[in-house]
Amino acid sequence: MNEMIYLYDGSFEGLLCCIFDSYANKEILTAIFSDEDFAPTLFPTRTVSTNAGHASRVLRKIHKLSPYAEELLRRGYLTCMDEKEIRLYRLVVKLLREGAGFLRDFSDETLHPVAAAVRHLNGEAHLLKGFIRFSELGGVLGSEIEPKNRVLPVLRSHFCSRYQNEKFFIYDRTHHEALFYAAGKAVIRPLADFQMAPPDEAEANYRLLWKRFYDTIAIKERENPKLRMSNMPKRYWNTMTEFQDASYFTPAASSAAVPAPGAPAGRSVPETPPAHGLSAPASAP
């Protein structure tokens, strides 16, 4: 059994193929890097090519042993845990060696970091279900978030069922990807750069109404900034309507919210299936 560092393409299937290849080549992995994170080392490395067949075989085996482990693997891949690949790999190795029993013990040292990271992801997604703020521009609802974990796949079903008759998108500034939804179809696509257009008259009005509601609902005698901060950490405030400054509530002077016909090509989300209407909020800054 040789020790080895694996490199993969950063996709979930790629990660599963790392696990497959480590067994096929009888190698023990000491680290797994995605191509972009890798800094050259003196240790032997191997680049894993992604193979859909191998990936699904690994997943099927894990599912057979424990559906919970499969969920941990799928969700764990989305988290911002340090060295998530190698931790997930060790979880799978332990599962294949010992069976699913240890997954019941939350304090197990292989399980605990993964389960804690997945809880962090789920917690963040749960908070964002409430904290996401949409703006309506040209009939499309758009919003931006700055999460630590890749929450979009977790948020997808919630917002798709809530706004099934709407067209909407959620842009993840941290991971540069966006969830698009229109006419019953949702896709998550990488999106390098994006700037929200200024609000029109009606949108600015509803923002102002919400801000006024938010400021009024607090009881002055009970003010408790510490409690608010622990319930709603400040890192979420950046994208929430009620904490924006005055310019956020003033409508654009002209009809700037309506997209200019010749919007720059890079902004209008290329290769996105539900493209109709999506060009509206994606106008230039």
């Binding site: 939350f106 409430g130 996401i132 703020r133 706004y163 607090a218 005698e221 608010r228 709603m232």
Partner: protein, 429 residues
């Protein structure tokens, strides 16, 4: 008056209502409708206001004009304040547009009594009807049943909304007589009983006919004001337990009284709201609902109010040394729940974790056990935490110290070495 000013006045008038929950009603999407209700067991908070309370619903009054003159209420007839009323159309438009922007989970509609209870309820029903039938809004709605309104109107409202509630406000009849002379206990309890009976009937109907319209599927709740009347914690907690037992309420909310009007019968303006007392009552409420405690165990005639220094569960544990220590590898779920520092989640985790091997003390923090409280009351494999020594006295001191950091601190005053300004001037030339 424009909608912005109306919203401000009617939010300001509604903010003392503590209830703001969106859980208990699981409704997926319906074709052609907008919205669903939260699938999470805890509902969904959309923001937290400056006082740290969750905001999940658009909490407003239909109107803050009121024919009643309840002494504790800011909307009382004799109070000189700005008055406003939403039209049903305005309110429906506001709700749907807030909902589409994900500002809120739904609507929480209450109202001052405009002309008479029936007329008020009719206005509320009209607004909610527009929301449900014209906008086809499928999200969460919580409405207040106005005491004294006709049962037919309560019935209509219950079929439109997810949760109904009817506020008791003052926990004793004596309090009602002096502070809210137009309200009676029977007028408040009658709609509560009606809602309870109707829900039981609805459950039977749903077994027979799957598509029977649901009546208030998220149940009913109520609210009591704490600190406006001299009622003791024991009295309030007994009443709470009675409401859970006899009326099958989902929640009882407590609202620390904030003096909004000057009245000889009430605490003076500027009195701080009894927030710690409210906090202790909520802690006890959780013990009643999830931990299998009864009101008599927590308080009795000799100690009719909670200890401000310690939470009710710790107090109970200190009074019952014979129950402890609890062995985490053998104790059943109910016994685990009685250990301070252990909650519903950590108790469940212990139950599953110990199936794959005996637990040791080091494992417990990872399972979510709060050791600074729990260590005095449990053993793992017959052993307590390493190096732990305590007596009955030091145990109390340690527990109080552990709790101290979480309580609101009294305002500290900077002591000065130089009590006269003259000395200070000499010292700094």
């Amino acid at each position: 008056m424009d909608v912005l000013s109306k919203l401000e006045i009617l939010t300001d008038a509604a903010k003392y209502d503590a209830a703001c929950t969106s859980s208990g009603s699981r409704r997926g999407f319906k074709q052609g409708w907008i919205g669903n209700t939260s699938s999470s067991i805890a509902g969904c908070c959309h923001t937290f206001s400056a006082d740290g309370r969750c905001v999940t619903l658009l909490k407003v009054l239909m109107s803050n004009c009121c024919v009643y003159d309840c002494a504790y209420c800011g909307n009382r007839r004799s109070n000189d304040t700005r008055r406003a009323a939403f039209t049903p159309e305005e309110l429906a438009d506001l709700t749907i547009n807030f909902f589409r922007r994900n500002y809120i989970e739904g609507l929480f509609l209450s109202s001052g009594v405009l002309r008479n209870p029936d007329y008020t309820m009719e206005q509320m029903i009209r607004a909610i009807r527009i929301l449900r039938e014209t906008y086809r809004f499928n999200g969460y709605i919580h409405a207040k049943a106005i005491p004294g309104a006709a049962p037919e109107l309560v019935e209509q409202l219950g079929l439109l909304v997810d949760r109904l509630s009817c506020n008791i406000e003052l926990p004793s009849e004596a309090g009602l007589r002096t502070l809210a002379p137009e309200k009676t206990k029977t007028a408040i309890l009658a709609p509560m009983r009606q809602i309870q009976n109707r829900r039981i009937q609805n459950k039977e109907e749903l077994v027979k006919y799957r598509h029977t319209p649901k009546f208030a599927p998220a149940g009913q709740s109520t609210q009591m004001i704490v600190g406006a009347t001299p009622d003791s914690d024991l009295h309030i907690l007994r009443l709470t337990q009675g409401l859970y037992d006899r009326y099958q309420l989902k929640r009882v909310f407590f609202s620390a009284y904030v003096p909004v009007v000057e009245n000889a019968l009430l605490p003076a303006r500027g009195t701080k709201p009894p927030l710690l007392r409210e906090h202790r009552l909520y802690q006890a409420d959780w013990l009643l609902r999830f931990y299998g405690f009864r009101a008599e165990e927590l308080l009795d005639e000799k100690t009719p109010s909670f200890d401000p220094r310690l939470d009710p569960k710790c107090c109970w544990a200190l009074r019952h040394p014979e129950f402890f220590p609890v062995e985490v590898n053998r104790a059943d779920y109910e016994a685990l729940l009685r250990v301070p520092g252990l909650g519903v989640v950590s108790a469940r985790r212990i139950l599953t974790a110990r199936r794959s091997g005996p637990l040791r003390v080091e494992n417990l923090p990872k399972l979510g056990v709060v050791m600074k409280r729990a260590q005095y009351f449990l053993t793992a494999n017959g052993q307590m935490a390493d190096g732990l020594r305590f007596t009955q006295d030091s145990l109390l001191r340690n527990l109080i110290a552990a709790e101290q950091s979480q309580l609101p601190q009294p305002e500290l005053q900077q002591l000065s070495l130089f009590d006269s300004a003259g000395l200070l001037r000499e010292a700094t030339p």
